[in-house]
């Protein structure tokens, strides 16, 4: 399968991402555009609702992610932090929109904590590190860590974008499809920034590429999944990357990862296998 749409489209890097413009035109509260009334007549199927909740919980977990990112040298880069401030703002409102969808369907919102057990894969041990260990290792690593954060951000965008599209396809809901179009439109600029930064930093430094290869091999996808239940994560993986079509979707992300500067086929293959486990 080729990624012939904007999911993993190569970015036009002739135009450097304008962080000030992004901040100035950030998009907030979406509640007025969600067509929530439609759900009265046509509530979403249970699987769709579960995925809406899962994705919403990931969107709302920006502060946890910022914690891990900001204890490293990434916080020194004022352009990156300016982006992240607005990124967190936009994601806050995406989560709010998804919460509103759940509410309109009369089911538990994003605050519903799944009591199920976390996944304890050995390969993800690094992801479970707290801020102290992250801060300590970051002291040794220094600024190349920014490449890791930007690349993880980019791949996270590819994965969640794929999930949102799958959700729109399977829900059979006009209202949800329109909400997801909005979500993807907001997230498009996040992808552009990460894409721009990731490729530039990976091609500029062999150390950055090496660190990123290592981080990608031990990452839990999408960002924030480490804090979600094993059950929810398996559901997400099955829904988005299950079956032969799902595996093709995972393979397409793998190809895009392999094409990132200095990352290579092996890391991409590990990532693909983990998505469609």
């Amino acid at each position: 399968m080729t990624m012939n749409d904007e999911t993993i489209a190569a970015t036009d890097r002739s135009a450097h991402f304008d962080v000030r413009d992004f901040a100035r035109t950030a998009r907030g509260n979406h509640r007025a555009t969600l067509q929530l009334g439609e759900y009265n007549a046509k509530p979403l199927p249970a699987d769709s609702l579960r995925l809406v909740r899962y994705l919403g919980q990931l969107e709302s977990a920006t502060m946890q992610h910022l914690r891990n990112v900001l204890v490293t040298a990434t916080h020194k880069d004022a352009r990156v932090t300016a982006f992240l401030v607005t990124w967190a703002f936009e994601k806050f409102w995406l989560a709010d929109a998804l919460d509103a969808v759940l509410e309109a369907n009369g089911v538990a919102g994003l605050e519903e904590e799944s009591s199920d057990k976390r996944r304890h894969a050995l390969s993800e041990a690094g992801e479970r590190r707290g801020p102290i260990r992250r801060a300590i290792s970051a002291i040794i690593i220094g600024t190349p860590i920014v490449a890791v954060h930007m690349t993880v951000g980019l791949i996270d965008e590819w994965i969640t974008r794929t999930a949102y599209k799958r959700l729109a396809e399977t829900s059979g809901s006009v209202a949800l499809t329109s909400t997801i179009d909005m979500v993807l439109d907001v997230k498009r600029r996040h992808s552009l920034f990460f894409d721009d930064e990731s490729r530039r930093r990976l091609s500029g430094s062999a150390q950055a590429a090496r660190l990123t290869r290592r981080a990608l091999s031990g990452a839990a996808w999408p960002i924030g999944a480490i804090d979600r239940s094993d059950d929810d994560r398996s559901f997400f993986e099955q829904f988005t990357f299950g079956g032969s079509e799902g595996r093709a979707r995972a393979a397409a992300i793998g190809s895009a990862v392999a094409a990132l500067p200095g990352i290579g086929d092996q890391v991409a293959a590990t990532l693909t296998a983990r998505l469609s486990r």
Binding site: N29, L66, L70, V71, H75, A78
Partner: protein, 264 residues
Amino acid sequence: MAFDVDKYTATSVSVRWDDLDFEQFREMPLPEYSLRTLRYMTDVEYHTVCYTRDLLTTPSHKEKDVSAFMTMWNREEFWHGEALAALLGVHGITVDYDELKANRLKLGWKDRLDPIKQSVAGKIVGMDFVAVHMAWGAANEWSAITAYNRMAELEENPTLAELLRRIAKQEARHVAFYTSQARDRLAKSRKAQVIARFALNNFWAPVGSSIMEKSEVVHVMNHLMSGEEGRKAARKIDDHIAGLPGMQGLTIVQDSLDSLGIAA
């Protein structure tokens, strides 16, 4: 009164300055020492996200209301930085991200260890540490409002005063959040009161002290907080802080002015 986070997030906006006549400053620029103070304020506002980092390493990030507030707070403070940078811009002073980055890179080891220290302390004292952060945040936001108001008074330029008034108005909502959080959490825990009192008394320093050169801190404090009126303003901040549960009698702002050698 409890702080309504939903109302806050729903009404949080970036500060406006496009309707203010900044062009007048090309003809009649603000004096050098005021620009130096404004530059300090700009850096502090842009730097807020790094302060978030210290907050986030403690248990507070797990709380939904705190997360929601911090998301909006960060963005508002970023825009204060943008507004002040625009004002400096018409004075020919460019504040770009690369320059901010260079400043942050100068911070070195102390800055690198900060999140670890904070986090260790946060782990040890658990939820009580959130109360400490809230009290600390309240002290900082009160200081920020005071600084903007003092600047507006001293400069007597209506356009500058209007911009600073708009910024201070947003800071007032931040104060409301921090004080309501601090009050509740301190009132519930004697241990939190003891830790907060200890932390404020021993470690608090004027906002920006950890990110700016000492010469700049002294300049800003001399400019805004010296003399009779400056001290009166400092006393007012101290009175607010002392009003928090368990903080009676603290005079951390006046103490820090003394230790910086700022004339009363």
